[in-house]
Subunit: 383 residues, 2 copies
C-alpha cells in the first residue's frame, strides 16, 4: 500500500519541500496548483488542455455541485469524475466559504449551517457529517471539512467562537469519516483534510493549528487567509501557522493563486494551492508573464505580434500573438477567455513545477528571489 | 499550374457533384461547409479543434475585420492568416450583407455604400473596387464582390434596381481584380466570386445568373436566399438559379447551414456553404443529431448519460454526456458553448463529407432520402 503523502526533498533554508500525494486517481507531485473547477468545469478550458498542461488534480465545490446538478445526479452518473469525464484527482471543498459568504441567506447553528439556494430560494442544511457524506458519495479524492469562514476582522470573541465551532466540527467530521471508512476497501478509504481557522489572532491560530494537527486528518489546510488583509499580514499569519502544524502531513493554502503569493507560501512550507484567480483574470483580459502581470486591453498591444510571454511554453504562446488576443478580447470573443485561461493556468502550473525542481536541486531560495525581482520590478513598469 | 476548380464526380440523378478547389493554402474537397469566423475566430473553438475535425477553409467577414482590428493591423501582421495563425484557406465575405442590414445607418450610391460604424459611429464607404482591394490586402484566398442585399420582398422594381446595381458592381469588381492581378505572380492571382442576386423574381434571377456566369469570375455564389422566405421557396429559387449558372465554376450558397438544407442544396449542385447556424445554436444549447435537432435544456437530459449523438465521432461525443453538457449549459459555463460548437460543426462537416463520398459512389440520392427521413421523422418527435 502506497503512503498517501511522501516527502521527497526538503529545502535547507526554508520550509519549502517537494513531495508526492497518492490518490486512487494517480500520483500528484507537490508543490501543486489545483485549477478551480467549481461547477465540474475549469472555466473556459477543455479537459484535454488541462491534461496537456500537466494538471493532475482539480478542485470541485460541494456547495455548487450540491445545488446543481445535485448529489443524486452525480451519484447516478457514477461520481463526479465520471459525470465530468475527469480521469485524474479531484479535491472538493465543502462549500463552507460559499455558505458563509451568503450574508442574510444563512444561519449558523452548533450542528451546522442553514442556507437558502441562490438558484431557487429553497432552504438547505449543511452539517459537518453531511458534507463528508456528500463528498464521499460523489467520489472525491480529497475531502474538506465544513468550517466557519469569516471575513477579515480583529474581533477576538467572534474569532474565538468561530474557531471553536470549526474545531468541534472537525471532530464530528472525523467521526463521520471513520464510520464511512469501515465499509470501504483500503484503496477507497476517505482522505479528509482539517482546516486551521483562527482569523488574525495569533493565539487562536496557534491553538487551531495545534488542535487540527493532533487530530487524525490526512492533511491540513490553512483557511481564512487572503480574505482582504494585506499581503504582509497573510504571509505573517501563514508563517506563524506553519510553526504549529504537523509537518508530516500535506499543507494546503486555500485560495491563493498569484505567482508571488505562491512562491512565498511555498517558502513557508505550503504543498497545495487553489485559486480562481488564473482563470478569473483571464476573463478580464489579464495575463501573468515572467516580467509581471499585463492587461491585453492596453493600446500598446494592438500591433504587438509577439506572444504573451516569450518565455512561456503554453499552447497560447506557441500559437497566438498579443495583437490577436487583444482583438479577440475587444471583440468579446469567447476564444479570448479560452486562450488567456490556458496561458495563465499553464504559467502557474509551470511556476510551481519549477519551484519543485529548484527545491530538489537545493536552489529554491535563490530562484524565489530571482523570480520575484524580475516579476515585481517589471510589474510596476507594466501596470 | 493546378486548376482552381476541378470536378471529380457528377451524380447521375441530380446536379450533385464532388470537386476540388485549389488555393495557395491547400486543397479543399467539395461539397464543403465553411465554418464562419466573422471576427477572425470561429466562435468558442480553438484552431486546433478545427484542424482536427477536418476543416480546410473558414470564412471571415470584411465588414467586421475592417472595423476591428482594421485593415492596417491585419496588413502589418502579414495578412489575416498570420494575424490569427490560421494555416488553411480563408474565404472573405465583402460585408455587403452586414452593411445592408444596417437600416438607417447606411446610404446606397451607384458607386458604393456609405455606412456608420456600430463601434464608434464614424462614417465609412465601401465601393466594389474598395472591398476587392481590402480583401486582397488582408490575403484572402477567395474574395467576394460587394452586392446589394435585400430582405425578402415581392417588390419587382426594388428587386430589379438592386440586381442591376449588383451587376454593375460585379463589372467594377472584376476590373479591380484584373488591375491588381497584373503585379501578382501566378500563384497569388486573386480568386473572386460573383454573386447572383435577383430576389424572388424568376426573370430577374435568371438574368443575374446568366450575366454573372458570362463574366470572368472564378466562382459563382447564390446570394439573397434563405433571408426569411419559406424553405420551399428557397429551394425552388435555388433550383431555378442553378439552371442558368455556369456549371464549370464552383457554386456557393451564402448562409445555409442546417443539415437538411445543405443536403437539398447539394442536390441542386451547390459546392460550398457557410452559415453561423452550427455555432450560434450551440450557444443556445441546441445540437444536431442524426435523429434530428435536440435542445440540451430539455429536462429529460438531466440523467441522460449518453453522448449527444451515438453515431457521431466528434470529440464532444467521444468524451461527454448529455447530462454533463446540460449541467454546463444550466450553469452558464463557457465549456457548454465550446463542446456544443465542436459537435455541431463536426456534424455538418461530416455530413458534407458523407455526401461527397456518396456522390462518388453513385448513391447520393438514396443517402439523401435516408438521411432526411431519419432526421425529420425524429425531429418532430424530439422537439
Amino acid at each position: 500500500m502506497k503512503k498517501f503523502f511522501k516527502i521527497k526533498a526538503q529545502d535547507k533554508s526554508s520550509k519549502a519541500r517537494s513531495a508526492i500525494l497518492n490518490t486512487s486517481h494517480g500520483l500528484i507531485k507537490t508543490p501543486v496548483f489545483m485549477p478551480v473547477g467549481t461547477k465540474a468545469t475549469v472555466k473556459a478550458i477543455d479537459h484535454g488542455s488541462l491534461y496537456s498542461m500537466g494538471c493532475d488534480i482539480i478542485l470541485g465545490n460541494l456547495y455548487h455541485l450540491y445545488l446543481q446538478p445535485g448529489i443524486e445526479i452525480l451519484e447516478e452518473a457514477g461520481g463526479l469524475h465520471k459525470f465530468m469525464n475527469w480521469e485524474r484527482s479531484i479535491l472538493t471543498d465543502s462549500g463552507g466559504f460559499q455558505v458563509f459568504s451568503l450574508n442574510g441567506l444563512r444561519k449558523i447553528f452548533d450542528n451546522g449551517v442553514q442556507f437558502k439556494s441562490v438558484i431557487d430560494g429553497s432552504t438547505h442544511f449543511f452539517s459537518p457529517e453531511g458534507v463528508i457524506e456528500f463528498q464521499a458519495r460523489i467520489g472525491s479524492d480529497i475531502l474538506m471539512v465544513l468550517d466557519e469562514c469569516m471575513p477579515y476582522t480583529d474581533d477576538v470573541i467572534y474569532t474565538k467562537n468561530a474557531a471553536l465551532r470549526t474545531l468541534d466540527w472537525a471532530v464530528s467530521s472525523l467521526k463521520k469519516r471513520d464510520r464511512l471508512n469501515i465499509e470501504r476497501p483500503e484503496a477507497k478509504k476517505l482522505k479528509v483534510f482539517g482546516i486551521v481557522q483562527g482569523g488574525f489572532i495569533k493565539d487562536i491560530r496557534k491553538f487551531c493549528a495545534e488542535s487540527i494537527s493532533e487530530m487524525n486528518f490526512e492533511g491540513i489546510a490553512a483557511g481564512g487567509l487572503s480574505v482582504g488583509e494585506s499581503r504582509q499580514m497573510t504571509m505573517e499569519m501563514l508563517g506563524y501557522t506553519s510553526e504549529y502544524i504537523d509537518r508530516k502531513k500535506p499543507f494546503y493554502f486555500m485560495g491563493l493563486g498569484d505567482p508571488v503569493g505562491i512562491i512565498d507560501a511555498i517558502y513557508f512550507g505550503v504543498d497545495m494551492f487553489d485559486c480562481v484567480m488564473p482563470t478569473r483574470i483571464s476573463r478580464m483580459g489579464s495575463a501573468f508573464t515572467s516580467a509581471g502581470k499585463i492587461n491585453i486591453k492596453n493600446n500598446k498591444y494592438s500591433k504587438d505580434f509577439t506572444p504573451l510571454d516569450e518565455e512561456c511554453g503554453c499552447h497560447t504562446c506557441a500559437s497566438y500573438t498579443k495583437a490577436y488576443i487583444k482583438h479577440l478580447y475587444k471583440s468579446r470573443e469567447i476564444l479570448a477567455s479560452m486562450l488567456l485561461s490556458v496561458h495563465n493556468l499553464q504559467f502557474v502550473i509551470d511556476l510551481v513545477k519549477k519551484c519543485r525542481k529548484k527545491i530538489e536541486e537545493g536552489s529554491f531560495c535563490s530562484f524565489r528571489e530571482e523570480f520575484k525581482s524580475k516579476y515585481q520590478e517589471n510589474h510596476c513598469k507594466n501596470s
